[in-house]
Symmetry: C2
Subunit: 201 residues, 2 copies
């Protein structure tokens, strides 16, 4: 099957050498697949690490239990990473089909949809930032505001949350790179040369 020739009339054959474009496209698709899989795994890991974290503390006769729902920022991280993991799984499957079929994304509406959905990178960055902020309060307190540090009390809980946030941070960095890749896949379609979209993805 001709790779680039499909839908390209003789009048608008791209000037880039076909092999160059083929290599670039191949690398982009493989990089995308690897990143999608990594984000899927890391997102699940972060959500499970934080979501399953609890610690019970006996203070005299009172039993206190720390759980992630006590802090809204942690709920935000768990939800954001769960969503990202599910979304990355679906997108990863699309990448696999695309690689197996050897097709290229020339469909503008689909490229726009993927680009828009990948903007969830901002949501993930915001979730990690708020969780980091809460962790700093929990670890060091904020004496001016009389917010006490609570990690002295719930050491094991705080450590596991820290691991979860670190995992979520790596996942969100991956999402930022993916967002740039989907911008590349979309906006190169607006280059000077108009390739007809008979190959859909």
């Amino acid at each position: 099957m001709s790779y680039l020739g499909v839908g390209v009339s003789p009048g608008n054959v791209p000037e880039y050498h076909g092999t160059n474009l083929k290599v670039v496209d191949w690398r982009v698709r493989v990089a995308e697949l690897v990143l999608r899989c990594a984000i899927c795994v890391l997102g699940i890991l972060a959500a499970v690490l934080i979501g399953s974290d609890t610690q019970v503390k006996q203070i005299f006769s009172i039993q206190k239990k720390a759980k992630f729902t006590d802090m809204k920022a942690l709920v935000f991280v768990v939800v954001a990473n769960g969503l990202a993991a599910g979304y990355s799984l679906v997108q990863g499957l699309r990448c696999v089909v695309s690689i197996v079929r050897g097709t290229v994304l020339f469909n503008k509406p689909l490229a726009w949809a993927i680009f828009s959905a990948d903007q969830m990178a901002y949501m993930m960055a915001a979730a990690v930032a708020t969780a980091l902020q809460s962790s700093v309060f929990a670890k060091f307190g904020e004496t001016e505001l009389q917010w006490m540090k609570i990690c002295n009390l719930y050491g094991k809980f705080c450590n596991q949350v820290g691991e979860g946030i670190a995992t979520a941070l790596i996942a969100s960095l991956g999402m930022v790179v993916l967002s740039a890749i989907s911008a590349f896949s979309l906006f190169r379609l607006y280059g000077g040369n108009k390739v007809k979209s008979s190959v859909t993805w």
Copy 2:
């Protein structure tokens, strides 16, 4: 002066109609200029609103002063918005020169530099998210963690911070759109058609 003909050999004349590309380019550059100016103004406004905010409270014989440096997230917002305002001013000037000269950005290294710098949109989103998070704590407290609400005490201070954060939020949304515009300006250079870069910007 020929708009598209510069540096384009007869062999690789873009298939898009010249007028279409001209109109798209014109709109993109004007949109970019308007956004850069808006972010510059909003960034300064947010930084000034938060940075200049203080409130003194007399509690019996003790005088307590609330200022933005008491909360790290607010310092982060002031710094991020100050940086964004300065950066937008410089980029706005570049846009003006580009529009006056009637040139198009065909220089890949420059486009990469602008695209990379525009990723500060993530920093701005993170700053706004952490400030919002702190504001929620300050307004409503977090009873499970024994973090008291402080906006009862410093009402005027909290209101002005709220206005500052709202302004920073609008600026960061503008930065997200700008980031997409610079991705467009960069990655369309990687379209099928290779336009030689004798016009630099």
